[in-house]
């Protein structure tokens, strides 16, 4: 039986279909009251009576909260309601492409990546200030408009999806690639979880590498929880060094040491952006006079170096790129006979003769005692 074509949902007249997702269909629709074209996102409500009531309640709560978010970097929700077992959200209709599609098209310039990440961070900061956490920041939820503006989509829907990620058996469904470690673990999440997700997106934009990729969901979850990333400058040496710190901080596994505010992240991204722009300006002005020669790094890359606390468990540390340690490494790798003797054994207790030769205090004690013994002998027998 052919499906009946939907002509109207609520007061909205359907003009066409924009896309389909796991939760429902997105339509292009007209609002006759305001004569405005909108994106109408429909969500199929649960068939179970108990589930439906809960879902219904959560949907309206979240939609109401999302409706309060009016920010240049957040897709505006105009209206929401229910029609024939379908919940719907009327949202700002945007002409552009989403970040997932943009990433599929090819490499992104660092400036473009930072501009997008900064805008997303600003949008998140605005929402977080109002107590709203997105919970599903990923390239597919970031819309890119023609003039370089980035907008976060699906505020309000994320919580429903996030709830769907975990089943009654504790199994996490869907792809956790952009989730934070606490989200993957099924623990309560707060706004810092969004900042981790944005860190993963930023890393992908900067390097083209999908962080925490794995063959299946358990492997991805393991990587999200335990794997450390390579600093972006290892993969793209032209990036500002400060970006390593920004990314590292956004991707901290422990939320307590991660960025605590989205605005703080936005500010740091702004600083990196300013450095990149200044660098771009300088290279443009001096392009005719100088030539940049890229030096190939001879050192293979290692994941980001662990901090002192975690070194007790993972002691592998990479060679510092700024220092040439090759001579000593060579010595360690192929020790001479003398080095084998020096480096190959544990320290031994120091003998008396050696101590006498090198230790002035011991020497004084032994010599004065010897002299006294001689004097005493003379006094006794001399």
């Amino acid at each position: 039986m052919a499906k009946k074509k939907t002509a109207q949902i609520g007061r909205y007249k359907i003009l066409g279909e924009l896309g389909r997702g796991a939760m429902g269909i997105v339509y292009r629709a007209r609002d006759p009251a305001l004569d405005r074209v909108v994106a109408l996102k429909t969500i199929i409500l649960s068939d179970e009576a108990d589930g439906r009531a809960e879902y219904h309640k959560r949907f309206f709560l979240e939609a109401k909260a999302a409706g309060k978010l009016t920010h240049p970097n957040i897709v505006t929700t105009y209206d929401f309601g229910e029609h024939d077992g379908l919940a719907y959200l009327a949202m700002e209709l945007l002409e552009g492409t989403d970040l997932r599609e943009r990433l599929q098209q090819g490499a992104m310039s660092p400036i473009e990546a930072l501009e997008i990440a900064q805008q997303v961070a600003e949008g998140l900061g605005f929402a977080h200030e109002r107590g709203i956490v997105h919970r599903d920041i990923k390239p597919g939820n970031i819309m890119l408009l023609d003039r370089g503006q980035a907008k976060i989509m699906d505020f309000g829907l994320a919580r429903m999806r996030a709830a769907d990620h975990k089943t009654s058996t504790g199994m996490v469904l869907g792809t956790p690639k952009y989730m934070s470690p606490e989200q993957v673990a099924g623990q309560p999440v707060d706004h810092r979880s969004d900042l981790f997700s944005l860190g993963v997106v930023l890393y992908e934009m900067l390097t083209g590498v999908r962080l925490f990729a794995g063959e299946d969901t358990p492997q991805i979850m393991h990587n999200v929880t335990y794997a450390e990333h390579e600093p972006p400058t290892y993969l793209k040496p032209e990036l500002p060094a400060m970006l390593d710190f920004v990314v590292a901080r956004a991707l901290k596994k422990d939320p307590a040491v991660r960025y605590q505010e989205a605005y703080e992240l936005a500010s740091d991204l702004g600083t990196c952006l300013a450095e990149l722009r200044a660098r771009a300006g300088m290279s443009e002005s001096s392009a005719s006079a100088t030539k940049t020669v890229k030096i190939e790094s001879s050192v293979a890359t290692l994941p980001e170096a662990p901090a002192a606390r975690s070194i007790a468990f993972d002691t592998r540390l990479p060679f510092a790129r700024q220092f040439d340690s090759s001579a000593a490494v060579e010595r360690l790798a192929a020790p001479s006979r003398g080095d084998r003797a020096r480096l190959g054994r544990a320290p031994r207790p120091v003998g008396w003769l050696r101590r006498l030769r090198h230790d002035a205090a011991t020497r004084w004690f032994v010599l004065s005692t010897l002299a006294a013994a001689l004097a005493g002998s003379y006094a006794a027998f001399g």
Partner: protein, 233 residues
């Protein structure tokens, strides 16, 4: 070499690094690199390996524990310039790890140094027992400047006996040894004299000492007179 090579490891840790703003992290990291560049320059490039740690830097020093201690102490002077450092020193096993030519180092030597740095208060260093032993072997007597700070247990429930530098400890030890030497001298000479008295009796001994003193004094007087004559002449 049957096992992994042993080396002195200096772990320079920027305190509270993860909690600082990123711009400050970048500044502190750059400052630390400058400090490491200056301090490591004193060592032969063939005897030091510099490693990156998430919250600091690690300098592995081959066959020179004294140099490692000096390096750590010099690096800590940078605290006065606003670099919040703490240092951990250890002497232990290190091994080249990673792909092909080796991308880094691993080993218990690094783990213990990291744990020591973790326990060290701001602008201070803590050294392991193994490092103190290595220092004692390389430069006997210098290890006296490291005094016991206590036993610390890391999150992996491993106990570390750690030592802290004490500039006065070496002086105090030298004083103690001098005092012990003087006491031994007094005791030995006294024992010699007592033995003589026991054999000869007290009166004859005093008389012989007085006689010896007089003859020596006479000899001395004659010597002085001759000397004065010579000077006058």
């Amino acid at each position: 070499m049957s096992g992994s090579p042993l080396a002195s490891v200096v772990f320079l840790k920027i305190q509270e690094f993860a909690r600082r703003p990123v711009s400050e992290q970048a500044r502190l990291r750059a400052q630390l690199e400058a400090v490491v560049a200056v301090t490591a320059a004193e060592l032969d490039p063939a005897s030091r390996i510099v490693l990156e740690a998430g919250d600091g830097a690690v300098i592995v020093v081959l066959a020179d524990p004294r140099g490692a201690l000096r390096l750590a102490q010099r690096a800590l002077t940078a605290c006065a310039a606003g670099l919040p450092l703490a240092a951990g020193l250890n002497h232990g096993a290190v091994q080249i790890a990673g792909r092909k030519d080796g991308a880094g180092l691993t080993g218990d030597g690094i783990a213990v140094a990291a744990a020591a740095a973790e326990f060290a208060p701001p602008a201070r260093l803590l050294a392991s027992r193994a490092f103190r032993d290595a220092l004692a072997e390389a430069a006997p007597g210098v290890e006296a400047s490291l005094v016991k700070a206590g036993t610390f247990t890391d999150p992996g429930l491993r106990a570390h006996e750690l030592y802290r530098p004490d500039g006065e400890a070496a002086k105090r030890r030298a004083g103690r040894y001098a005092l012990a030497g003087a006491a031994a001298a007094i005791a030995l000479v006294g024992a010699g004299l007592a033995a003589r008295i026991a054999v000869e009796g007290q009166q004859p001994f005093i008389e012989s000492v007085v006689a010896k003193y007089r003859s020596t004094a006479k000899q001395g007087e004659g010597y002085w007179r001759a000397l004065v004559q010579k000077v006058r002449f």
